[in-house]
Symmetry: C2
């Protein structure tokens, strides 16, 4: 031990203790942390992240709900206490009713549990189903957060291509057979069938049935990430995989982040009780925020949420339309993009001959940000793709952003 | 595949898919889930769990704070959006100021991060510091939740005895030396030095310095669980281990569960940035509830929390005093209990000759519940101990509960 004079004049015995890397779990040294969205400088237009516009947060409705719930001892005595690990009873009842309406079948006890946003739902389900060294399947492209969560658990992801009708079912079955033959059958298939993040496209009913058939024949569970279902701008709803599932192998995940606000951190898992029981075993903090649950449950009970979803649909449809109009006007020939009927995103493909270094340099100069397509693949694809979010910016900023992006892409052609 | 008529008359192809145990991560098969506190029937008096009394929740203050924050776009645009994984800036600033006052030194950026209650803080820190197969040290008795979290991570706990002045420092050093010699140096020491759960006792200043000295000499980090500090009924505050630490090896954990409400699910980690960075890598859900954080941050900013803590001190002191009075009156000779100056608990020791089967049978008949001491040890000790919480029940119920418990213990003598 050395003795050293500290800045405050105290002479302390120093043990030489240091937080060297070997003091930590090797898992965190082997895997990087989740990339986090940062705030952009005010002159930058960001179309990169799937954040809702704070101007659309239902603050008056939440304030009224908070007032009502905090005045009702029957509600707050439960919600503010240590709670059931599965979730707050009021919110479970209200959400269960909503899901029954969507699925056309009862939500039975033990099948629905709350989580801290669907990010936690994804991480918990991955942990419940797979151990380090296991293999799983996902769509390519897919949600970058899921790629991170799977990798962090030491699980290997095999990507299966996506087209405008959803996952390539023939390719999926080939991969399953290959993995079975290799003695590493996939532990699950992760899919975002409705308003895919990042593609914007949705899986057709026919493709959903084919996917379920393959999953059932090979005994592979499906994780259905369904974050955007409520934000449909046009067309008829397609049933969830969970609603179509006759085998109990679909685990449906959802969230209030897009229809209330991300900061309420409320997501859910709807699945066989054998699954939810294991998911909760990994949920160290016990119950999901009872305070936020009680307020959102009250907001639902009073009809506030249903009305708010209508407002959001109109607002986000206007933004999507503004983006499509600007793309048609501003993009050089050869650039293509997906059509979406809802959600937050569309997916842009730049001609393969484009020099993306030049595109990125010009984009930085033009103060426009989109998400690099490479973030949305577990392998090295996506170099000539961009994910564009129309959720955060108002229509006029979207138009200006796409104009700048057009300039950037032209610089690379 | 078999074909089978379903209850709804539809003939479905059944794949034979079943959620057999081998579909899940073996970790959850090898370890049991956290035991959860259940609600007691109304005629039962429970002194078992460390729940605050809902009658003491600051609902008016939280309602006013929610109203104020949800009317301020600068606050809610940040708090309701996807947020910084370390926590909401308003709450970090308010809590940082409170901790600076307690510790007499600055809380520097990156050292303070929010978690979903201190349960999650414990689980995340254990994961960050230890991998399956590692060994750690804890006080015996200790918090049952921590025993669970450590076990769930596949980490082995070596218990070190506790007396009325805190952890047995000579015993601690012997265990460290033994583990070092065995090639399995402990990854950390877990301690609750102030108003220990379950013992109720606090570590003296002298013992704290000795503990820090041993930890520094052997290079073993300390997890200081400090959930009850604010609930001091008498006596002078003793500095936290973190405040006394000159080596940066103490990780202080805290919570709003006891001073606001468990349902706000807000805990924190105060530690070297190398630690908080790794802790956050395991935090899959991103930021801790922004909505609850904003409301509690506003409650602090307006001075509501500081005033509420005074109310709680008076209320819980009255309950503790009621418990001591009843114990002195109702307990048979030979039963002993600890003295506590704060927190939620005291620790009862029944004579070794008592037949605990008879005590438990009579307790069930008398409709009185306490926590079995065996829950508070990682080994098989605690058979003749009970943890008594004076937090949930009002004074008259505490008196009646202790009367019943006295009857139960008499039945075993």
């Amino acid at each position: 031990m050395a003795r050293e004079a500290r800045q405050d004049g105290v002479t302390a015995e120093l043990s030489g203790f240091a937080w060297a890397p070997d003091r930590f779990n090797p898992r965190v040294r082997a895997t990087s942390s989740m990339p986090r969205a940062g705030a952009s400088p005010p002159d930058v237009i960001s179309l990169a992240y799937g954040m809702p516009d704070p101007a659309l947060f239902p603050t008056a409705g939440l304030a009224a709900a908070a007032q009502e719930a905090l005045g009702d001892p029957a509600r707050y005595a439960v919600a503010l206490q240590y709670g059931n690990v599965g979730g707050n009873p009021l919110l479970l009842a209200e959400l269960g009713r909503k899901l029954e309406g969507e699925e056309g079948r009862p939500v039975t006890p033990g099948t629905l549990v709350m989580t801290n946003g669907s990010s936690q739902a994804i991480a918990l389900v991955v942990q419940a189903l797979a151990a380090p060294g296991d293999v799983c399947l996902c769509e390519a492209p897919t949600f970058l957060g899921t790629i991170h969560h799977i990798r962090f658990q030491g699980v290997r992801t095999v990507p299966v291509s996506l087209d405008d009708d959803g996952i390539d079912v023939e390719g999926l079955e080939r991969e399953i057979q290959r993995l079975e033959a290799a003695g590493t059958p996939p532990r699950f298939i992760y899919t975002i069938p409705t308003f895919n993040n990042p593609a914007g496209t949705s899986m057709t009913l026919e493709r959903r049935r084919a996917l379920l058939d393959i999953a059932a024949r090979h005994g592979v569970p499906i994780i259905e990430d369904d974050a955007y279902r409520d934000l449909r701008f046009e067309g008829e709803p397609v049933p969830t995989l969970h609603a179509l599932d006759r085998d109990g192998l679909v685990i449906r995940l959802g969230t209030f982040s897009k229809i209330v606000a991300p900061g309420v951190r409320l997501g859910f898992v709807l699945a066989d009780p054998a699954v939810t029981e294991r998911v909760l075993a990994f949920k160290a903090e016990g119950s999901t925020n009872g305070f936020a649950s009680m307020v959102v449950g009250t907001f639902m009970k009073t009809g506030g949420l249903a009305a708010h979803i209508q407002t959001l649909r109109a607002a986000y449809r206007e933004r999507r339309d503004a983006m499509y109009e600007a793309l048609a006007r501003e993009m050089p020939a050869g650039v293509t993009w997906t059509r979406t009927q809802g959600g937050f995103f569309l997916w842009l493909t730049v001609p393969a001959r484009a020099d993306m270094g030049k595109v990125n340099a010009k984009a930085a100069e033009e103060r426009i940000v989109a998400l690099a397509g490479t973030e949305c693949f577990p392998d090295d694809r996506g170099t000539h793709n961009l994910r564009l979010a129309f959720s955060l910016q108002p229509p006029e900023k979207i138009a200006e952003g796409i104009r700048r992006l057009g300039q950037a892409i032209r610089a690379g052609l």
